[in-house]
């Protein structure tokens, strides 16, 4: 128990103990409860942009994003990535069996530089590939400044 003393002197000494036991009890119970109920796994989300191409379930149609006239698509294929911008095509093949994410990021940065207003992009993934690759591709598009990402239901050609 915490002891409080006024230092004595000639006057009558005022010394008393502060009872910390209930405080420690409360703390112990609270800490145990908080530790048990704490959420340790962090989960976030990435979202699909509202697409003008998709099925509309709401009353209003979202306005077309700027520079929607320039087709921009990222294909995730078994052999690597393929980027289609306007009429140009770029193949980014796998390096040592791994997708070349650095090369794709630099290509996407070039496209963003060429079309700074453009925010929409379409991503396609081959059907047999893992779902993880879709998220990887979407993440790279979002990082490169294309927040309105749509997923095309047709597979990569």
């Amino acid at each position: 128990m915490a002891n409080i003393d006024d230092g004595g002197g000639n006057k009558r000494a005022a010394s008393f103990d502060l009872n910390l036991v209930p405080f420690i009890d409360l703390m112990s119970v609270m800490i145990t409860f908080l530790l048990i109920t704490a959420v340790w796994t962090q989960v976030s989300m990435i979202k699909l942009g509202s697409s003008i191409y998709g099925k509309q379930n709401t009353d209003e149609t979202p306005p077309p994003p700027p520079r929607a006239d320039v087709p921009f698509r990222l294909d995730v294929k078994d052999t690597g990535y393929r980027v289609l911008i306007g009429k140009q095509k770029y193949n980014i093949d796998k390096v040592n069996g791994e997708y070349d994410k650095e090369e794709l990021a630099s290509k996407l940065a070039d496209i963003k530089q060429a079309y700074p207003d453009k925010v929409d992009a379409v991503i396609t993934v081959e059907e047999q590939l893992k779902y993880e690759l879709l998220i990887q591709g979407m993440d790279l598009l979002l990082q490169s400044g294309f927040p309105a990402v749509s997923v095309a239901t047709g597979g990569a050609e």
């Binding site: 128990m1 910390l20 989960v43 942009g49 059907e127 993880e132 879709l134 993440d139 997923v151 239901t153």
Partner: protein, 200 residues
């Protein structure tokens, strides 16, 4: 906290023998300090899970992430497909089926979305908002604000998909197609946030 030496005591609790008494004061200050700091830290980080996610599903990692918002959750594991923790379809059956529509999931999700829509539209919050009418003119909003406003208005149709990172994309497409057919307006993907590398 004082600790008294053991020994024979009289009725008043004092040592009966005439020996010198031993009193040790145990300092609790450090422990109380530690408890306080720990309690403050835990309270700061305390949050109620707004969304019912399955903990056993390995999620893909991403860096451009946003905070999870309350929504219907469709969980796709290697064994089953769940809607808000209720199993609705078998994974293998969905994987093998030719057509894309997963009927049990569509029916359950459609009902859940309709219920949510009714609940939100009849809510007190909405009634107050309409009465005050303090909405901004869409023409004054930026592209991002407009998107946020739209997401808020159609929040009843928000669906978060939590899928195992190892499953094939065709099954994911079937689930996404069914979610859209059920009337969902926004689809989000649950991911594990990853620190962005400085070189990237």
């Amino acid at each position: 906290m004082a600790i008294y030496a053991p020994g024979k005591r009289n009725r008043r609790g004092h040592m009966s023998a005439g020996k010198k008494s031993l009193v040790v004061v145990l300092s609790l200050t450090a422990m109380v300090d530690m408890f306080t700091v720990l309690a403050v830290f835990l309270l700061q980080n305390y949050r109620v899970e707004e969304i019912q996610l399955k903990k056993s599903v390995p999620l893909p990692e991403a860096t451009a992430v946003k905070k999870l918002k309350p929504a219907h959750v469709v969980v796709v594991t290697q064994d089953e497909i769940f809607l808000d923790e209720t199993p609705v379809a078998d994974f293998e059956t969905v994987k093998e089926q030719e057509h894309w529509l997963i009927e049990p999931l569509q029916e359950s999700l459609k009902k859940a979305i309709e219920d949510k829509k009714i609940e939100m539209e009849s809510g007190l919050k909405n009634a107050l908002k309409d009465a005050i009418g303090g909405e901004k003119d869409p023409a004054d909003m930026s592209e991002e604000e407009r998107e946020e406003e739209r997401a808020k208005r159609y929040a009843w149709g928000r669906v978060t998909m939590q899928a195992d990172k190892e499953i094939d994309f065709l099954t994911v497409k079937k689930v996404m197609y069914t979610i859209t057919e059920a009337g969902a307006s926004l689809i989000n993907f649950a991911v594990t946030p990853k620190e962005k590398k400085p070189s990237e």
